[in-house]
């Protein structure tokens, strides 16, 4: 297993956002993570990426315990992640944003720049590469986040709703981009509300609800699962409103 998270819980005060979640990811997989708003998906990601230390459980990456390691150590080990609310470096240009990522594996500016240019091209940001990140819209920012992480040379990428809020054409491009990333040999875990994305990309799906993993399996099986339908219908109206916005 490339990544194995066992019995992860995260408490905020007395509230448990994640309750005993398990996840095992083999090298080369694409795993989908779904669940209604507030189910604990992002919090779970934060635990996997070293952004917070889980209250219980442990995370093994490539057999090494990284539970308490810092976020920068996670990045160095090869776990990259995007943020649900894009956190691009607003005053830096698109290329400079990507170079920050590239500097993880390259100490020299020239080498980092070369890698960054290649990734900017691959992610379709070449035209905007000299613009400041603040001038991009949300879709551009999300793509920049992916590019930046890609530049760190990760083995595993955690994408938190990186494909949300795109137009149908943009969505198709983004799906193609994820495929290309996967072809590079990078393992992916993606959180998405858009079922189309999950159905086309994911080989296995985990469903979160109220902090628990309530189902997992092949995409087809999971969408037919009673508990999953139940979880979604309970809060379905909120989801639809959110996708509309």
């Amino acid at each position: 297993m490339l990544l194995s998270a066992q019995n992860i819980s995260k408490a905020f005060g007395s509230f448990l956002a994640v309750r005993g979640a398990d996840l095992a990811v083999a090298e080369g997989e694409i795993i989908g993570l779904i669940g209604p708003n507030g189910a604990g998906k992002s919090t779970f990601f934060n635990c996997l990426a070293g952004d917070t230390v889980p209250t219980t459980g442990r995370v093994l990456f490539d057999g090494i315990d990284v539970t308490r390691a810092s976020a920068e150590a996670h990045a160095r080990a090869g776990i990259g992640r995007t943020f649900q609310v894009p956190a691009t470096f607003e005053d830096m240009t698109v290329l400079e944003n990507v170079m920050v990522g590239a500097f993880l594996r390259h100490h020299h500016r020239g080498a980092a720049r070369e890698t960054a240019l290649r990734i900017v091209e691959m992610t379709g940001l070449t035209r905007q590469s000299a613009q400041r990140a603040r001038s991009l819209g949300t879709p551009g920012r999300k793509r920049l986040e992916i590019a930046r992480v890609l530049a760190t040379g990760p083995r595993l990428m955690l994408l938190d709703e990186a494909l949300a809020g795109l137009t149908p054409t943009e969505l198709q491009q983004a799906i193609a981009l994820v495929r290309r990333i996967h072809e590079l040999g990078i393992t992916l875990v993606i959180v998405e509300h858009i079922m189309e994305v999950i159905m086309t990309l994911a080989q296995r799906v985990l469903v979160f609800n109220q902090g628990h993993v309530i189902a997992h399996g092949k995409p087809r099986e999971v969408v037919a699962n009673e508990a999953v339908i139940e979880a979604y219908l309970g809060r379905g109206h909120r989801r639809r409103r959110r996708e509309a916005s």
Binding site: A49, F83, T88, F89, M92, E96, V100, T152
Partner: protein, 319 residues
């Protein structure tokens, strides 16, 4: 644009021959010192976005050690410069290690409190002259005492130091370290997720900044041959660094130069208008400038120019 750098260098090199006489040379030296200190501050306060309002602690340490070396052991003041750098380095570590774990405002608060602690403490410490301060050699024993009657040698010494500080900043800007500083300033959490060692990078910036600020302090005390708690560790020393950098444009290479270019003549003018006793008015003016900058143009003149220049260009094209 291509010619602006050589033009600037030439201007600074020949300034003493363009505007001659002690009055203008004095202003030139004051300008250089302000630019050096503000450039030093800029590394941590500008690029890294960790706003120190107590940088006088490094300036003061750098200012005291040369005169202390002379006072205690009769050594030439320059001999104390490296010692000042080392003490400032240690001080930077002592402050950075605990505060960089916490949020931004905490660092600012800690810097001003520690600077004040040191100022009061030095004011009661007899070894370093307590409230009276220290004096350098009245008459130079040899050239290495660096006591010149003319301002001119100081001008060129300061200019050389400024060149070193600016060149270092230029290299920092282009290096991985510089990119990391800007990333940290823009968002620590995102920087961390890309493998930026946030605390270590901030600490490195503070250390570099502290060393340069210390050198600025040394230059000051060697030139004036006198230092006391207020002129070394006083809050106004910190204020000047912040205001010069912010006025010109924090986190830009030449911002501190522009800031010094505006502020130092202004300071000379207000001192003449208001007289020595009315120096309070100068500080009212400083406070006012800082508030207005924060409110309307935190990017300083540099940013302002970037808004204004395109508009001017368009107008001149239209005409």
């Amino acid at each position: 644009m291509k010619w602006s750098l050589p033009a600037l260098a030439a201007l600074l090199l020949f300034y003493p021959f363009i505007l001659t006489g002690p009055f203008y040379w004095d202003i030139g030296v004051a300008f250089l010192l302000a630019a050096i200190s503000a450039s030093a501050w800029n590394i941590v306060g500008g690029y890294a976005g960790q706003v120190s309002v107590g940088h006088s602690m490094f300036f003061g340490v750098g200012a005291y050690t040369p005169l202390l070396f002379y006072h205690l052991w009769g050594l030439p003041p320059v001999a104390g410069v490296p010692a000042g750098m080392l003490v400032s380095l240690a001080l930077a570590v002592a402050i950075g290690m605990p505060t960089f774990r916490l949020q931004g405002h905490y660092f600012s608060m800690a810097t001003i409190a520690v600077a004040e602690l040191i100022r009061i403490f030095v004011g009661t410490w007899d070894l370093v002259g307590a409230a009276i301060g220290l004096q350098g050699p009245a008459v130079g024993r040899a050239w290495w005492d660096l006591t010149f009657r003319s301002e001119l040698p100081y001008y060129y010494i300061f200019l050389a130091v400024l060149a070193v500080v600016l060149y270092t900043t230029f290299e920092v800007e282009r290096s991985r370290f510089g990119y990391y500083l800007r990333a940290i300033k823009a968002g620590e959490r995102a920087a961390r997720s890309l493998g930026v060692p946030v605390r270590a990078t901030k600490l490195k910036a503070l250390m570099l900044s502290a060393v340069f600020t210390s050198v600025a302090g040394s230059l000051y005390s060697i030139k004036t041959g006198f230092i006391d708690p207020e002129s070394g560790f006083g809050i106004l020393v910190s204020v000047q660094m912040v205001i010069v950098a912010a006025l010109g444009g924090a986190a830009t290479l030449f911002g501190p130069l522009i800031g010094a270019l505006l502020l130092v003549p202004l300071q000379t003018a207000t001192n003449t208008w208001f007289g020595g006793g009315g120096s309070g008015l100068t500080y009212i003016l400083y406070g006012g400038i800082i508030v207005l900058l924060a409110r309307f143009e935190p990017g300083g003149m540099h940013e302002w120019w970037q808004h204004v220049a395109p508009r001017l260009m368009r107008r001149s094209h239209a005409a």
